[in-house]
Symmetry: D5
Subunit: 91 residues, 10 copies
């Protein structure tokens, strides 16, 4: 599984709508509306690197109301949970 | 469950060590070593707000080699997964 | 009580108007027009975390003339005053 | 009453200690440990401008563990609360 | 006397016009067109804090061509000159 | 007369001491301790450009406790006051 | 051979299209869509300095959808590969 | 002779045109299209301070396609060349 | 093949030494000393994602004199060259 | 002739000394102590690209008191002066 953290700022007044649209995208497991310098932070968990690339460079951008994104690929994951098993259900 | 995304930079050459120590902390479910402007991104999932506060203002800082952290509390979570159930095992 | 500090920049020439509108919102206890890098700083004091989230991600943004906001949730409060009692009147 | 919002970053691992020391200072009514780009945000409420100046340029800096502060004076306050009356007790 | 330093950027090609308009405002004693990161720096010297607040949050913004301002209130003044006497003529 | 605005940050806890030392320097007419992103703002008013250069590149730096300075030369001055006459006394 | 690294941000939703157009330009050997603060990073490898200058100041800008570029000329190249030989085929 | 370095960013695709127009302005001796964070860097060499001020606050801005400028006045010049003599021809 | 662009700043006076050491690392195909905001830019071309992760989070940091790195993984590569074939020799 | 603009910040109190040392270096034609965000700006004019690279990556850094440099290579020069002829004397 390939993980990435996506930092997102949205157009004024569209936080909730964009969050809901993003959470419906295949490959996005969670979207947090966060305090601080980013409006939303999405966690991408995709089958492989190619799916991540297509999610980030194409499908993500089809969501209306996004102003700016910055994708931070995970190079390694450290967790006591078996994230692969846990999230495979929804992939 | 209270979630937060924690952006972390570490001292030179200590990425892997800090990541492993953080992943062992109660309340931290995953630690990603990421590309881009942050060295590590940790996801905190705690029982309530008080646990998150104590994790972030005290226990996190006991890990050697951390240079800088910025905690971004989740105000809302959007997900097709039942994150509460999935992560309760490890809490 | 859940507190947050909200850093706000407004459209040119609208400082006073936005400040007055914000101060009328339920959950905002005070709005300061400040010197320095932010135009306004609002203090949110809400019953619980959910009210804060709805204030910040929805109601706040209905005020015309706001250009940019950044919400900084309080994780802990240190005060010799009983803020809960003092502000409960206006909540 | 003269109000100011003070944005504070502290040395690693000293958030709670500095917060408690600041909250004890005359003229500081509340100290929040916040998420996001500042470690602590203190609210100063002083009798007049001179007290604020002495608090910020001298007494504040006697607290060990502070790394950086930025004071944002309130030029105007908008509130449905009578902040002067409420906080005069503790001044 | 209440002093403040106001950092100003203007719309392209309007430095001189904005500077002249600002210098005519009651409460602004001098306007410098400066090298470096700001286009203009104005010095405000007003009778009291209220006059400064109204100058900065309202009258200043009526000048066409201003893009951005940041007001830095003086908390203390150190000078071998009697600035109060010198500038009272023009207040 | 050549004017410049000098933006200054000082070492922790030294705001007042540095301000007093600077105000004593020939060529510095006023020093403000300000709110916001700079600790001190000094106004230099020197006979000519050479005096300003020597003040800024040499004498200023002899004051202990200064951490960082940025000098913004005035290219033009707009004022209803006769600043040359007013400040010539102290030059 | 003259090398340069070109950091590029594009208009929303145009990452792939711009990348393909850039990769077709004579003098651009590779275009990476990257994670982090830039959308695309292109490597320019031109015969000489003049070709690089014309590529960067003119031809590059004819590609629709580019928002911002920053060119970082290579002053020296360190490699165990014979880059001149390898890329001469495609120049 | 009064020197200044002017850092310039231009509208997309207009680097060469703006450079040529600037190089024709009286008082501008050279315009470099540079790599890195600025598009163009111009060197101003004027008879005196007043000419520099009028060049920078008025004539420079008449060139179409400039987006942003920042002028850095030279306070002192160190050179083994007699710049005054060399450039007087073209002034 | 997995590509990444690594932005690097080094300790003062160590540009050439660090560049040579980096160019010797397995997985680094080229190191450019560049103009502008970064001292060095290295191109990593590794067999797979795991090799990239171990290069970036461990081996890179063993080189003395590096101050700061930021790794930008390539998610997609666009090139008329067969980079896989060209660089496989040196992998 | 290869030109570059070098933006330089120096250690506190060393502006003049560093400027004089830099102006003595072969390949540096002028050093300006400037107002604003950089302490010194040097103009490099070297025979060719290799000389510039060795000046910037090695000889420049031998000057004591430099804290930070950023070199901006000129890709094109626009001037009504024959800079090659004028500066060849001193090269």
């Amino acid at each position: 599984m390939q993980n990435a953290v996506i930092l997102i700022n949205v157009e004024k007044g569209r936080i909730r709508g964009v969050a809901e649209r993003l959470a419906d995208l295949e490959g996005i497991s969670e979207v947090y509306s966060t305090c601080g310098r980013y409006d939303l932070i999405a966690i991408a968990r995709t089958r492989d690197f190619e799916s991540l690339a297509s999610l980030v460079t194409e499908r993500l951008m089809s969501v209306e109301g996004i102003r700016d994104t910055e994708t931070l690929n995970a190079m390694q994951v450290h967790s006591r949970h078996d994230l692969d098993a846990m999230f495979s259900v929804g992939l």
